[in-house]
Symmetry: C2
Subunit: 272 residues, 2 copies
């Protein structure tokens, strides 16, 4: 059980502190307090390992502390404060925590950080008005796996600290910079100044993905899940790229399309 | 409005027929009656276009008939019987129909059909005990987009006629053969006899995806979303293939991994 003692110190699910943690499921509360929920053993472990300075508290049941020693090992190593809770307390804080929950501070990098002139990125993913939490989280996970240097979300996108987004990143939210409220036009301009090509992914694109030069540093632009990219957004790109459809499907969904594009770039950059 | 007249012929949400349609949300009822629900304008349109002989009835609200003329055009062209329903009737039949619903007959191809000696397939996806409806549907959609000749699901997988699976295929269920209750060992043997290589996708695989010879006809094996492929399943493959992870993500989820593998094959087969 790592450094966690066996005494349950929080047993009352109606305590003020329990309510205060549960309230972080709401956007307005997250925004006011500058904190968010991290649910489940995988996400909590990755938060503690990669951003320990942002993790305020970890809450665990005794059963979860025994079942997930990698979580308590990580909290002990990082010196993060851990509370052993009754199952009722954990359940009152979150329905999706599998016995492991953390409260972390919201600390967001800026687009300027990500596009610093002295260390330009090789691969970035930008999402225009992505609304579905699962899609946003999955694209962040795909970007991480593909070795991207960061993910940028435009104004009007889903709140990246929404618990559903955090869960669906499977820890990747703590692995790479995720910038929100981005002005896509400004960002595309800066990226181009730093030597990146800007590629928009769109089913109606004139450029075949297989023929694109993806070994170059690239910023990918992905559109809203229902409406794709608008004309003004496509205009920001050097080329609008189409994933070939070989069968009868009309399209791929956003998460699948982003995964294919980002992995095509990763492959070209790492083998090309 | 195509060939659909403006008279609502079904207005009572408590009618026996309405209950009988709604009951198809249940596995046991689908199995007994050999029918399933097709929900939403895109899925119904694709069912009517590609498998009109299996579509028994289409149910539409007046508003949906006006909003989705491509659906009524398709039913008119195919000569499929269409019922105009009150919104209450549609809502009683399904909560996810967006005003357009069909009842279709379950007609499943066999693995033998798909692996016929006189016309061997070039690309197949097989799923071992996939349980999540969204994952199963998304992989079927990815296989369709990648131009696969079919999808095979092992015994113990989610029911492919579960309404959530049908919806998440976005019409692809009607575009390519989907075989269920497959014996993976038998299928792998037959595929090999037909000249296909059998590749298992697994994060611990010894073969790098980027170095695999994917221009060859290929059967891909994908594992359960939580546990991956078992040792016995990996043994069925000629090679166990790993998608390189370039960042800090532990893995890709099943749908993402299958999309990357299938598109890597499509690209190699179509450009190689």
């Amino acid at each position: 059980m790592g450094g966690v003692s066996g005494e349950v110190t929080m047993a009352n699910p109606r305590a003020d502190r329990v309510r205060a943690v549960a309230a972080l499921a709401r956007t307005s509360v997250r925004s006011r307090r500058g904190q968010f929920l991290v649910e489940g053993p995988q996400s909590v472990r990755e938060a503690v390992r990669f951003t320990p300075e942002r993790v305020r508290d970890v809450y665990l049941t005794v059963a979860a502390a025994q079942r997930y020693p990698e979580v308590t090992d990580a909290t002990t190593t990082a010196g993060v404060y851990t509370h052993l809770c009754s199952p009722e307390v954990l359940a009152a804080m979150s329905e999706d925590a599998q016995g492991v929950l953390a409260v972390a501070q919201i600390v967001e990098p800026t687009a300027a950080d990500l596009l610093a002139a002295d260390h330009p990125p090789r691969l970035l993913a930008a999402l225009a008005q992505v609304r579905d939490p699962g899609n946003a989280g999955t694209v962040i996970r795909a970007a991480d796996a593909a070795g991207a240097d960061g993910v940028l979300l435009s104004a009007g996108s889903v709140d990246v600290h929404n618990p559903k987004v955090v869960r669906s990143t499977a820890g990747s939210l703590f692995h790479l910079p995720v910038v929100t409220e981005v002005d896509l036009a400004e960002m595309a301009g800066t990226a181009r100044d730093r030597g990146l090509q800007v590629l928009a992914a769109d089913g109606g694109g004139e450029q075949d993905l297989y023929r694109a030069d993806l070994a170059r540093p690239t910023l990918w632009l992905f559109g809203n899940e229902a409406h794709g990219l608008g004309a003004a957004e496509r205009e920001l790109a050097d080329a609008v790229v189409r994933i070939p459809i070989h069968g009868r499907a009309e399209s791929l969904n956003l998460a699948m399309a982003a995964t294919v594009c980002l992995y095509s770039s990763a492959r070209a950059q790492h083998t090309g």
